[in-house]
Amino acid sequence: MTDSPVYEPLLQPLFNFLPDKMTTGVVVAITTLLLGSWVMIQQLFGPWVERKVMARMQGIRGPTYVGWKGILQIPADLLKLIFKEDIMPARADRLGFFISIALISITSIISFAPLPWGTNLMGANFGVGVLYVFAVFSLFPPAMFIGGWSSNSKYALIGGFRSAGQLLAYEIPMFLYGIAIIAVNGTFSLRTITENQMASGVGWNLFSHQLGFLGLITGFIFFIAGVAESERIPFDIPEAEAELVMGPRTEFSGWRYALIMMVEYIHLTVNSLLFIYLFFGGYDAIPWVDLAFEHNWAVQIIVLTAKLYLFVMIAAWLRSALPRMRIDQLLSLGWKQLLPIAIIASIGTLGFVKPSLLGLDAMFKWIISAVTFVLIFLFMFLHFRSTRRRN
């Protein structure tokens, strides 16, 4: 972890009395906290943006009273929820009830560590980079499930089942799509992936010719999987309020509810950030060119925040535009379509960029790209045919 955060030289001498590993750990924790607080501030205003956008789409005004145009609505709600009574249902499993909420919040917050906000603005430059984020995220489904089970409520239990099933179904394709980009760049480091996209003459991975335009398919489906992963409409089956009241969150109230809603937005944020890093250029302001001002840390943090809000708005747009899917449709989309397409697309991308990995000559590379497109086209065609017939 030599070339990591800018703070490190400042912080390192302060903790010299600790053992080696511990110093690093403390420095990582502090820097993660600093950058994490920036993200947490976004959490206070992201939902407001979303609610405003949705309100405009529905022709209403959204939050207006608290603060300027209701900008303090979310902090106010949070304050209220924190001071509410802490209720735990009778015959709830105490261990599970505590563990689930602890796991969910801890995993969400520590997932910020390897996300760079600028060339030298990151919590920790872990050797596993993006894999760390995926690993930490994979703890989310069991935590949701335990929470649903331990609430001792049928809605929560069914919601927990659905939540775990859904998260599991979309985690794997999401990871596979990420794997293609990771393998192409030869690193797990989100910073290196971003820097590669920043170079001049190189577009963002979403529309880069260096991936044989396979980034388009991969990125699009990664985005879908990310939306499903953050359990937003149209994929909010676990908390479908008409069927399951609030899903696994039904029995949580007070500060637990505040925490769990916060975590939901953090999920949206982190999934958007992952998409931005892997496909949308990270903190790169302009694709194809490499200008000097793009390396300024202030510009970088502003660009990344702006992109983040763009995706919050897209999420709000999706939320107000699309109807909810059925659970079987959702699972079949995840397992039967996104996963095989993920496999085809990641093999195709790899084959395009490094044909020698598939044992092919470099002269086949555009053919590989074309064949991948054709295979995906065929696959989707056949699948839609079969689903249409069944329905």
Binding site: K21, L95, I99, F134, S138, L139, P142, E171
Partner: protein
């Protein structure tokens, strides 16, 4: 070099700690006990390993609870927790990538399968008779003692390098590891993939089979 007595004492703490925790039913006492015992363990293990001690204690505690606990669902939760803390302990071995993989496979994959199965089956098991249980404790304790003494005698003589290479660039390490996997073990990975695919398909087929069909198959087999 670690003293043999200290080693045995640490082993004793690891094995006895869960039993002591079971005697109390209060969260505060649990926390105090945990802090005290990890302090003792850390003191025994020396300053270098002071961060490993609480993690070790936590892992063995969760593992023991997963084994001892009567409710299956609780056992599954303890499995999840034990696996998470075990995964973090890999970071002390410079193996961040295996820590990440371990947590994602065990936390995201196996734990959730066990949780699902536990909820679907919903049966709290009966422990076998007293005699078997006591036999089990005796045998495992004997095994632990004999193994640790064997290792204690063996390790100083064998040629284990005394230092982990302090690799500053984790990415280079991960890259080297991936390259090694891709070159030296390239022929294993397809088999592994086929194994996992086969188990997936088999599991899905088993889980989707109707009860009647299953019973018919059983009868045919008999």
């Amino acid at each position: 070099m670690v003293d043999y007595g200290i080693l045995l004492a640490a082993l004793g703490i690891l094995l006895v700690f869960p039993q002591i925790m079971r005697l109390f039913d209060n969260t505060l006492i649990h926390v105090v006990l945990y802090v005290v015992f990890s302090g003792i363990l850390g003191y025994l293990m020396g300053t270098d390993a002071i961060l490993l001690a609480p993690l070790m204690l936590l892992t063995t505690y969760f593992a023991a609870m997963a084994v001892i606990e009567t409710r299956v669902m609780r056992a599954a939760i303890y499995l999840l927790l034990a696996m998470i803390s075990l995964g973090f302990s890999y970071i002390f071995l410079n193996s961040e990538i295996l820590a990440a993989l371990h947590i994602s496979v065990y936390g995201g994959g196996i734990a959730i399968l066990v949780l699902f199965a536990a909820v679907l089956i919903d049966e709290n098991s009966t422990i076998v008779d007293e005699r078997t249980q006591i036999n089990g404790y005796i045998i495992t304790f004997a095994l632990a003692m004999i193994m640790i003494s064997l290792v204690f005698k063996g390790v100083p003589k064998s040629n284990v390098a005394t230092a982990i290479i302090n690799l500053d660039d984790g990415f280079a390490l991960v890259h080297d590891y991936s390259y090694f996997l891709w070159t030296t073990y390239a022929h294993v990975i397809p088999f592994l993939a086929m194994l996992i695919l086969g188990s997936l398909i088999g599991a899905v087929r088993l889980a989707l089979t109707d009860k009647e069909v299953l019973q018919e198959e059983m009868e045919v087999a008999i």
